[in-house]
Amino acid sequence: MIPAFAVVGHPNKGKSSVVSTLARDDRVAVSMQSGTTQVSESFDIHLGEAHYKLIDTPGFQRPRKLLAWLQQQPVNADQRAARIKAFLQDDSCHQQFPDETELLTPIMEGAAILYVVDSSRPYSPEYEAEMEILRWTGQPSMALINPISNSDYIDSWQQALQQFFRTVRVFDAVKADLDQHIELLQAFAHLHQPWSQSLSSLVTAVQAEIRRQQQHSCKLAAHLLEDMVRYQQRQKVIDQQQAKSLQPVLQAAYYSWMRKRESQAHDELQTVYRHHQLQRDSSELTLSDDLFDTEKWYAWGLNRKQLAAVGGIAGAAAGGVLDLTVAGSSLLLGTLGGGAIGSSAAWLGANKLAKQKLKGLPLGGFEAKIGPMTNRNFPYVVLARFLYIYKLLNQRNHAQRDHLSVDDAQVGKLLEQLSKQQQKPIYKALDRLSRQKDVSNLADVLEPLFIEQQH
């Protein structure tokens, strides 16, 4: 049987936020207005082979009256679920209690109960009727204390909830991280034995999905870097004069393409992490959002010193190959020379942007061309910006609905957190890329940088 969870409770206590967080998808509308969810909405969550359902339900509207209706006839504990079923089959009840009918239907069809309360406000007895009704359903249940604005009344809520639910957990719907999500599923697996196996495989599937998201992000970064570094804009024209006048137009088109490509990659990253609705607040940038402002590159990418060091490492690696081919008879001059050339080239060329060229064609005519971008710092700048968004999305809860603010970040600091062994292939790969050479496994090379970001 597919595990199904009905998220129920008082109106406006964060039920939709809990659904959004557990679905790991921000397409579940979260509203501050109570009574937004008027009909139960079932969300099928597929994670590879694993599958479960989350049901967002309307809040209780008439729990006291409903309990009175249920208690009209004296029933034993073993008949209570049948009494709820009788309520659901009664047409007049449908009209009188539309919200309760909506929320109880999925529960009586087998969904487990996740009862949500807000601990920032005091416990009051008006919740008892709804908790009692839920107890009558006889379905497995868990209470979630959602501290919407503070945790002032957690203790009193815990005391009260424990009277009605076997498991009570504090679960901040807007701040809960992945570990809390997994803990919740594990707790439920213990609570409801028949679902134990499918919930265990669900936990594995969630973890596998995280891994897949990370790998996908590495690929997106690799594709972005490759596209942006290799891109060139060319136009054939009849004469040299025309080619010259075309150059500013080409440059504008080139920069516009680059900006669009970067933005598209960031959008794709959002889609990977299922933050479809999220707005990126570029106005919050403390740095200029202009990819071509080289003065800002040192803040985002590598500073001159780091750049020279990286150039030296990459140059030394190339020189080392030369030493190896002559079996060391060059007395390591290749390594040393390569390092010196690499670092000085990186130092001197740090401010150069994409080259513009104008050349005559063999069969007549001219060609104006801009790109590819050969600046050594450029891939680091692009990578830093991508990593920054990645880091934010990776940690972001899906119920959080404020804009994503982008702040200052330097890829150099992130790189320094890696071991030398992990750093070197990245330096070499990005150096090769800036020299327009092929890097076949760029996504794999970048992986440590992305996984490192999680911690």
Binding site: D25, R27, A29, A129
Partner: protein, 369 residues
């Protein structure tokens, strides 16, 4: 499986390679000035080249620069503008390596099929004399190689190389040709060579790569299965809000209904601002429906006090349908027995709730804070 641009490029390349295969076979089958076709040249094209290409295929996974080679090809300046970008975009897809492998097999098969067709075409419409020439090699040297080549079709006698035929078809200025040499008898051997080393292996590798592509497509379909397209629930429309009235306080004569339990200390300070009620009733969860009805049926105006933070519910709406009066949402801290300002968000919830209840006025009591 393929984007249309990529499929077009792939078909163009396949066509070009087909023409190349046909052209090279026709060129060799054209022979020398006397129309004699060199058997060894054909073996280079039909056996040596396909075997070397297959070897390259097997060792290519161990060549690190394989991708570099593809990139170099993509970067060649001879491709039409925009083509490189399209191929680079295709390169980002997960099945790119298999796609390249598939295309390579398709091209190789196209080449082999073109060679085979050109050979059959030449045999059908011209009388071909196959000969071989060598300064260094003799028939004894060549026969074991040819026999080794013919091993895969050992069961076909007509397509096996013979010492006698080899000696007869040697073309040399020093050795006079024997009178009844059957120069055309090599064709079954050549057709089998083309099939065994060119067509069949490439057909197999093409089928394998197609199978791999299908597997990849299926796997990616599982992973890219929409999490849930229905993951959308409608956002509410902008609500209609009633205005908040500020009546002159204290009220002259009125009854009070507490919908939520209010601390006793706060009751006193409430009376100081509102005026002492003629009757106070407790409703909601801690009260009784009969008390609520009693409060509503009284002739005096009724003030219903609610906890502002608790969202308005249907139960209260049902009750208010039957009466008239004032609705007063308040916020307080029970532990400190202190009034708190009602936040705009809470107040708006009550304004929305009160809008369809024209006989009820939403009020606030500023003097409480």
């Amino acid at each position: 499986m393929q984007t249309s641009a990529y499929a077009r490029i792939s078909n163009l390349l396949t066509g070009a390679v087909f023409l190349l295969g046909a052209f090279s076979t026709f060129a060799i089958m054209g022979g020398d000035a006397l129309g004699r076709v060199n058997l060894l040249y054909l073996l280079l094209l039909f056996v040596a080249w396909p075997v070397c290409a297959m070897l390259l295929l097997f060792i290519s996974p161990f060549l690190q620069q394989r991708a570099s080679l593809t990139l170099q090809l993509i970067n060649l300046p001879l491709w039409p503008p925009g083509w490189q970008q399209k191929v680079l975009k295709r390169k980002h897809q997960d099945d790119w390596q298999v796609q390249v492998f598939y295309l390579a097999q398709k091209l190789a098969l196209s080449f082999s099929l073109a060679c085979s067709m050109a050979l059959i075409f030449s045999l059908l419409f011209s009388d071909v004399n196959f000969v071989w020439r060598s300064t260094l090699l003799s028939a004894e040297h060549i026969l074991p190689v040819l026999k080794a080549i013919a091993l895969p079709w050992w069961f076909l006698d007509a397509a096996q190389p013979l010492q006698n035929l080899l000696e007869q078809t040697r073309d040399s200025r020093l050795i006079a040709p024997q009178g009844t040499a059957d120069y055309g008898a090599w064709w079954p051997f050549l057709i089998m060579a083309q099939l065994c080393y060119g067509v069949v292996p490439r057909l197999l590798s093409l089928s394998w790569s197609r199978y791999c592509l299908q597997q990849l497509t299926q796997a990616s379909a599982i992973h890219n299965e929409p999490t849930s397209e229905a993951l959308k629930n409608p956002q509410p429309e902008a609500p209609q809000l009633t205005t908040v009235a500020e009546p002159e306080l204290p009220l002259p004569e009125y009854n009070l209904l507490y919908w939520n339990a209010l601390p006793t200390e706060l009751k006193h300070s409430l009376y100081a601002v509102l005026g002492t009620p003629n009757n106070a009733f407790q409703g909601g969860a801690t009260g009784h429906p009969d008390t609520e009805q009693q409060a509503l049926s009284a002739t005096l105006p009724l003030v219903v006090v609610t906890a502002a933070w608790e969202p308005p519910m249907g139960e209260l709406a049902d009750l208010l349908q039957a009466g008239t009066g004032y609705l007063l949402p308040l916020d307080w801290n029970s532990e400190a027995s202190q009034w708190l300002p009602v936040s705009t968000h809470y107040l708006n919830e009550w304004r929305r709730f009160c809008k369809p209840l024209p006989q009820w006025q939403l009020i606030r009591a500023e003097g409480l804070l």
